[in-house]
Symmetry: C2
Subunit: 440 residues, 2 copies
């Protein structure tokens, strides 16, 4: 079968067989499927969709395009969490130590921030000396000794995804659910997990703004994970405002360490609540506790006892970072920054927040990237004090902006101020952090 | 606007502005629009369509990507005919001399055969010495002195089409009507025509098998031609069986010369009828005669008087061919070929013919190409004697196959025999040669 025959089949609404999908993925990897042919097929998939069986075949073939990580010598259940990304979404830094402290091995392969969203690797690098570029033997060693290890995507894992993602990005075919599913799951399945918990964000700062689309994605991810033999569940969670307190890499690490030190600011509460729930579901799914209730208690104990913080400290040390931040998180802060109070322009209730715009405003002053090759200023950011439903007077603080100069102060505070919709009447519905649990 | 933003707009069903289409076509030509981006956009156009305005902008921009031919120094109306292609479709060889003999200048830029369809250039090359690779000055000189000239596509005319066509061929996006329209019309518009007549084929040997799709294509072609200021009309014509008598390059030229010598075999009648009608419409559209009736009479006189044959002879001489074929068309035939009588396996009426399969059977023995770089055996072919509606006894001839050896004889005659559906009852509907005239 020639590439164009395969494209034509999908173009005409047909269902590709596992063999045809294998032909495509292998062809993309070995070059027998030209980039332009892959691009045409991606657009046909975008517009005509894929069945669950096709998405699962695509995941399997992308997984097979690269190497499997074998951690079978580590005598612990393996589990991971994956978030679809958002603004102020820093739960990985709390969840990985929590889950590790409960007896799981968490081989976490993370990404960089791009556009309005942050990335775990950027956050970790806000810790002086922290290395995210590990060799596979180093990664394995740290996973074994600490219980969790953090690194970036390697060229050996699902190389077809790397190629296809670059093509999707250049051809406006990123947001197709089966392609997202295969991209996420092929990489996650490479780690040989027992359990996977997904945090699928929805709202103004999420990749999938519409809740119905996010739910569709969550269901497809869960179905694919389970069909690959990994116990998978998903939480559909709120991204209608920055998650918790901080947006900006160093500020977010500071927030996480404060949580693990049990001295958090009240604005960080959603980060703690979501981290506990996601970690508890990893612990129960992986079979460490037989009930979710027992898992929740166990995770809570790992936090209160300081075991999670201790685990985090050992990871920072193992990955070359300055572990003194665990005792004194203020070491993460840059005292040369300007602090600008961003004020509410008038009185009223916060009814809506454009979370992506807050992410973009922080990215624009160096806190994020518009292109993957951009350098990052880890210190800048925003502390979001006001939340949806809050009643404000004119001049009350929306939050605190940390930036380098007057130009940044002007531009970023104006953008952030404009991201808040403040009206006379309170919002009609409360903003629910966890909207739904999807287990099949 | 980035390429991916433009792709996204069409992906989401939007209408591209003339500026956006210009950006695309220029980008494809200068490389700022990558092949994979063009391929994704082509698939989005295939699946989401284009408005008439978009198709016209695309035509205009593809035309602007190259050079215009300027024949304004030739003091005659310029007109051309274009067929969407079929099996045994050799009318260009009769129409061009007919129209030229009636006082038109016919600058005919033609193509090669591919798959089951033939091409005018291949047919002309069956005449010993005939050169289709002319320089533009040569082409102009022959057009001026003879009244018609024939050549292949040059790199200077609509180069964007050349690039896009190659991409469409490799990405299963050939059959999209707006893309077909822009491809055909951008090249035709480059010749500065006064009138254009289109022969849009429908049926088992046509590019557009379904009559409704062919009608849609014909309407889009006519609308685009007229919007570009060229008087354009289309005939929707039958391609449910080979047109006329011969399939195969030399045999087809033989058939055309016999027609122009007024000594044709009766099986060639549809070629004559269609050629006269298309030529008459060129003559009337271009304003040489004020009524179609008068144009028909004029064209008929050009045939009967031998003026068309004379015009053909002068063209063959001017393009370097052996003009003796005009006096003795049997010079075109290769007497070393085997002649195989293909017989009806049983008695009955011919109700259906797979014309594409007959084209493919001839191509497979060397008479056509499966890839554009394939060499052609001009001599082989098939003379179709039996037509839809004919009543046959078992063993009656379907036609005569001309081939090189026993292997070819076996394979091709089996394929051709299987292409005829013969049943007890006659077909319910007569097979109409000209199904519709489309003028707007």
């Amino acid at each position: 079968m020639r590439p164009q025959d395969l494209i034509q089949k999908k173009r005409d609404g047909g269902e590709l067989s596992p063999e045809e999908i294998a032909l495509f993925v292998r062809g993309v990897t070995d070059g027998s499927f030209a980039d332009y042919q892959a691009a045409a097929l991606l657009m046909a998939i975008f517009l005509n969709g894929m069945s669950e069986a096709e998405a699962q075949s695509l995941t399997q073939e992308m997984l097979r395009s690269g190497e499997m990580l074998d951690f079978s010598d580590i005598p612990k259940p393996k589990a991971d969490k994956h978030s679809t990304g958002g603004v102020g979404d820093k739960t990985s830094l709390v969840i990985a130590p929590l889950a590790a402290a409960c007896g799981l091995a968490v081989p976490m392969i993370s990404g960089r921030g791009l556009g309005h969203t942050g990335g775990t690797l950027d956050k970790l690098e806000a810790i002086k000396g922290y290395r995210v570029h590990l060799s596979l033997p180093e990664f394995r060693e740290i996973l074994k000794s600490v219980g969790f290890a953090m690194m970036g995507q390697t060229a050996d894992i699902a190389p077809a995804d790397k190629k296809l993602y670059a093509l999707r990005d250049a051809t406006a075919t990123v947001e197709a659910i089966p392609l997202i599913v295969a991209s996420i799951m092929s990489k996650k399945m490479a780690a040989g997990l027992d359990a996977l918990v997904l945090d699928v964000k929805t709202g103004s700062g999420a990749f999938m703004r519409e809740e119905a689309r996010a739910r569709e994605l969550a269901r497809a991810l869960v179905a694919t994970g389970n069909s690959c033999g990994v116990r998978t569940e998903a939480l559909l969670t709120d991204m209608n405002q920055p998650l918790g307190y901080a947006v900006g890499n160093a500020l977010e690490v500071h927030e996480c360490i404060a949580i693990m030190r049990c001295e958090m600011n009240e604005h960080a509460r959603p980060v703690l609540d979501l981290s506990l729930e996601l970690a508890a579901r990893m612990v129960s799914s992986a079979g460490v506790e037989s009930s979710l209730e027992a898992a929740r208690e166990r995770v809570q104990r790992a936090l209160s006892s300081g075991a999670a913080l201790e685990c985090f400290r050992r990871n920072v040390e193992a990955q070359g970072g300055d572990a003194r931040v665990c005792d004194d998180p203020s070491r993460l802060l840059d005292l040369n920054l300007r602090e600008v109070r961003v004020e509410s322009p008038h009185a009223g209730f916060i009814v809506k927040v454009d979370a992506a715009e807050i992410g973009n405003a922080v990215a624009a002053i160096g806190g994020g990237r518009t292109r993957i090759e951009d350098e990052i200023d880890a210190a800048v950011g925003f502390l979001a004090e006001a939340k949806i439903g809050d009643k404000l007077s004119a001049g009350d603080a929306l939050g605190l902006l940390y930036c380098r100069d007057e130009t940044q102060a002007q531009s970023a505070s104006a953008r952030i101020r404009a991201a808040y919709e403040i009206e006379d009447a309170p919002p009609s519905l409360p903003n629910q952090l966890i909207k739904e649990v999807i287990t099949e």
